[in-house]
Amino acid sequence: MAKTITNKNRRLNMRLDWSLLRRMKQVLIGKEADQGLLFKIFIYVILIDVAYIYLNPLIFMVTTMVKDATDLLDPAVIWVPRAIYLGTLQDAWVMLDYMSSFFMSLGLATTIAVCQTVFCAVAGYAFAKLQFPFKKFWMFCLILSFIVPPQLTILPILIAASQLDMINEVYPLVLPAMFGHGLKGALFVIIYRQFFSTQPKELEEAARIDGANAFKVFYRVMLPLARPAIVVVFLFSFVWNWNDFYYPSMFLINVDTVPLSMGISRISAAIRAEEAESGPSIFSEPIKMATSFLIILPPIILYMFTQRWFVEGVERTGLVE
């Protein structure tokens, strides 16, 4: 008798254990396996790790920049400087000739970005929705211009520019953008093409029946719809052109005001020359970091203002097929 009672008890205990376990399991792993606590923690751990990896160089840049001489020499000071010293930033500002270089960069990047945003949209729309002779062939050319490295075309363009007396002018940089080419132009056309080809055909047909021609359809119907794609292309184009130094360093050889992206290589060269003369200086690293900071600051500010639309835009562009 007693034996059966203990047996029953044990069974009850076991059942209790089981239900407790199950509840724990539900909290930890969740009903749907991707809603449990464990999974959430796992995701956060990975994301925070990677976010740290991503931000690490930026933090390094900012902290190195504001260190003064004693902090730089003190090995105990790694991340947080004892005092904030803005002298390095000021030096970098002067060395970069920041104001005029900034406006040079801004003007150049904005012009190219606007041109690419507009003219790549026109080409992308044609590739997605319109008929024209030899479309397959031109599509092949589009992909070709995507994979051709700039080194292949730079020399002939350079020769042409020098023959036309356009060296040290900004035209060779801006003109390709006005035809929907330029830095990564093919990629932008492809992005637009993907976006426009996801738009329903009925939309266009309705507008056509109402008597709109292709231009009106494009301008009144398609462009307003393409806002997400426009944001993505404009931001990419602006930032990439802002950062690009390959093309400017090819065309702008003897110019007083260079774009900011070229400034850093000039300063590095200057510092190297100085080091060769008077030995390594503790300030060369902070100066470089301050320069980098000044260069990427404007795109970061732009990104902060546009990131909301940008993230949305990326999701809705259907960036790809």
């Binding site: 976010a51 319109l130 008929q131 994979i147 490295p149 363009i157 930032v239 990439w240 950062n243 130094f245």
Partner: protein, 288 residues
């Protein structure tokens, strides 16, 4: 009568389309077609820029022969290590960005903040600033140095591969930084798989693990492919790339020949990837 009208409508459509595409085609001919052709022409010639014009002198395959067989330093010393590095970097970038994109696609608080951080590299990784970071040694993994991983690799692998792996590890963080656009593409791609498929799978009792392999991954294959191509093109035209500085104005013919050899290598590289990829997908489909 009717037929004629139909035809003219077709002609009108073609005309409209041509007007839209015309600027791009003109641009292509001026900024792509003509330079490509001229650079091919230059690679067979000795070119001198004179005040009176351009003086060319036919040299045949001389420059190609020189680069490929006579003086290997230009091509092989820089290019081969770079290629090895690229081969290792591509899978790292692809797998990493796929992982991050899938995680970012989950619903959880703070998602927007994380997305903002993860798109940041798109802003930096295109410029000189990255070179500066590489020069500063930012971007290595400290723990690898502590464990002497590089010496172990050096003693156990062929030199070429060990060197490439070590170099990738030295700038591992920057490799992750290159993944900005790739994450974007994967995120956009993940949106194309409809939620109802996942629901159906769940009702049928599939575990998330199975759903990933049977639904997410097959759905992502076109994007993986696209990303591989994008990564290859991006890496090969990146400013840290050693070949880019070799193409300069000191010797037009030689530089053009080098650029063409380089382009051919890119094409072969892409071709191999295409081949492997199509084989792999076919095998995958067959296995399913």
């Amino acid at each position: 009568m009717k037929r004629k009208k139909l035809l003219s409508a077709n002609v009108v459509r073609n005309l409209e389309g041509s007007v839209f595409i015309a600027p791009w085609i003109i641009g292509f001919l001026i900024f792509m077609g003509a330079p490509i052709a001229y650079s091919l022409y230059m690679s067979f010639h000795q070119v001198r820029i004179l005040a009176t014009g351009i003086d060319t002198n036919f040299r045949g395959w001389e420059y190609y022969q020189f680069i490929l067989f006579e003086n290997g330093s230009v091509l092989y010393n820089d290019l081969i290590p770079f290629l090895g590095q690229t081969v290792i970097m591509i899978p790292v970038i692809i797998i990493f960005s796929l992982l991050i994109a899938i995680i970012l696609n989950q619903q959880f608080p703070g998602r927007l903040a994380f997305r903002t951080i993860f798109f940041l590299p798109v802003i930096f990784t295109t410029g000189q600033v990255v070179l500066e970071f590489i020069a500063q040694g930012e971007g290595g993994l400290d723990f690898l140095e502590n464990y002497n991983v590089s010496t172990i690799l050096m003693s156990n692998l062929p030199e070429l591969w060990a060197n490439s792996i070590v170099r990738v590890m030295e700038s591992f963080i920057l490799v992750l930084w290159y993944s900005g656009v790739q994450i974007l593409i994967f995120l956009a791609g993940r949106q194309t798989i409809s939620g109802s498929v996942y629901e159906a799978a769940r009702i049928d009792g599939a575990s998330p693990w199975e759903t990933f392999w049977k639904i997410t991954l097959p759905g992502m294959i076109p994007f993986i492919f696209l990303n591989i191509i994008y990564t290859v093109v991006d890496l090969f035209t990146f400013p840290t790339n050693p070949i880019i500085n070799r193409v300069n104005t000191s010797n037009y013919g030689m530089s053009s020949a080098l650029a063409w050899i380089y382009f051919t290598i890119i094409l072969i590289f892409l071709g191999i990837i295409l081949l492997i990829f199509s084989r792999a997908t076919r095998a995958y489909r067959a296995a399913k």
